[in-house]
């Protein structure tokens, strides 16, 4: 197990040498939205004392190029560093080690320095963009019967985060296209067309695992 640098960070796309390219593998443990701890949460519980109590919403993805070519597996989660928070404040990225395929946490990034976008809804793809300009694309890896629902949870989360970061400047409409990334270098936040605040309860409720009302 190792890695000083996550696989998705350098350049446009460069798989980490210690990450596997097991792109044909079946989807495994899915997001913890059902209340069952996901793989990432279990990994943190084992070795990361400081992070183990964080409420986490996570899913398995494959990293893809902008054009959709598939590369390595990535598990992405969002977590709240305090139960008092109404929304998650951290992004967690993990992937299998080259040696034994076990999940390894690669990075923990404050969400204030990360932007999430819907890249291609029809392919269940998200775009993750750091404030430094680095970006990569992730395609949800989930069973067909639950994939749409799970992707929808990410989309809702993404809207919540956007709405939160906009600090109520303008309400929003749940129009997926509004979040699509138009240009890598543009300030996408300003492109949101917002209409009406969500009626859903955004209170954190880890007891019932209904995280952030997703």
């Amino acid at each position: 197990m190792s890695a000083g640098r996550p696989p998705f960070l350098p350049g446009l796309w460069a798989p980490h040498p210690r990450m596997t390219s097991q792109t044909r593998a079946r989807p495994r443990q899915r997001a913890c939205s059902t209340g069952r701890p996901g793989r990432l949460q279990r990994h943190l519980s084992g070795e990361f004392d400081q992070l183990r109590d964080f409420p986490i919403f996570e899913s398995n993805f494959v990293q893809v190029t902008r054009l959709g070519e598939v590369a390595n597996k990535v598990t992405m989660g969002v977590a709240a560093s305090s139960p008092a928070l109404e929304l998650p404040d951290l992004l967690l990225l993990a992937g299998p080690t080259k040696e034994n395929g076990r999940l390894q946490l690669f990075g923990l990034f404050p969400l204030q320095f990360v932007q999430l976008f819907v890249h291609d809804e029809s392919r269940w793809q998200l775009k993750v963009k750091f404030r430094t300009g680095r970006a990569f694309y992730l395609q949800l890896r989930a069973p067909p019967e639950t994939r749409d629902r799970e992707f929808g949870q990410w989309v809702r989360l993404l809207y919540r985060l956007r709405f939160h970061s906009a600090q109520g400047a303008v309400p929003f409409t749940q129009e997926y296209s509004a979040l699509e990334d138009c240009d890598d270098d543009e300030e996408d936040e300003e492109e949101l067309e917002l209409e009406e605040p969500p009626a859903l309860d955004t209170r954190l409720d880890p007891q019932t695992s209904v995280l952030w009302g997703l």
Partner: protein
């Protein structure tokens, strides 16, 4: 893979001193001259062998830039070891050590072992901080000191492993309560640890090294 102990390390210091490069050299044995700015915390891990015990080093590579500092310092807690890094070619990174040290001491266990690292020792012609100054700072503040080069790998192994040796020594002396997770030490998942080395990976990772190879 089983291990007797897991030690949490943090790597701290000014931006651009080579923290991520040190980690990459230690975990992957390679050097990447151009690195993106670290945001938040990035992680690495490696098994080492100390006194016949397999020990997993869980390394938290923190962002050095001032704007991330208030966020990353919250992750110092529970570290057993810290690598405090400066760049021997940039005097200001040495001047900021006191501030980093204060942060580290304030947010972590008093028993934490701190290794002061003067990195980029391959750039001797551009040296701006004398080795003796690093030694004096370390002596004054009770730190271990080494000069390293993440580029040539000089002393990189030694820096990480000597820190682990010191932590292990403190455990044996009873200075670290291994059952208190706030000390940054976890007992491995298996009670019975074999002293033999298993896979080739762990053989590579388990080399005993001398206290100073003298390459720098």
């Amino acid at each position: 893979m089983t291990y007797a102990y897991l030690f949490k390390y943090i790597i701290i210091g000014d931006t651009g001193v080579g923290k991520s490069c040190l980690l990459l050299q230690f975990t992957d044995k390679r050097f990447q001259p151009v690195h993106d700015l670290t945001i938040g915390v990035e992680f690495g891990a490696r098994m080492v062998n100390i006194d016949g015990k397999q020990i997993k080093l869980q390394i938290w590579d923190t962002a050095g830039q001032e704007s991330f500092r208030s966020i990353t310092r919250s992750y110092y807690r529970g570290a057993a070891g810290a690598l405090l890094v400066y760049d021997i070619t940039r005097r200001e990174t040495f001047n900021h050590l006191t501030s980093w040290l204060e942060d580290a001491r304030q947010h972590s266990s008093s028993n934490m072992v701190i290794m002061l690292i003067g990195n980029k020792s391959d750039l001797e012609s551009r040296r701006d901080v004398k080795r003796e100054e690093g030694e004096a700072f370390a002596r004054e503040h009770g730190l271990i000191f080494m000069e390293t080069s993440a580029k040539t790998a000089c002393n990189v192994e030694e820096a990480f492993i000597n820190t682990a040796k010191e932590i292990y020594r403190k455990i044996q002396q009873g200075l670290f309560d291994v059952h208190n997770e706030a000390n940054g030490i976890k007992i491995g998942p298996q009670q019975c640890i074999s002293t033999s080395v298993g896979s080739s990976t762990s053989q590579r990772n388990s080399r005993e090294v001398g206290s100073n190879s003298g390459c720098c």
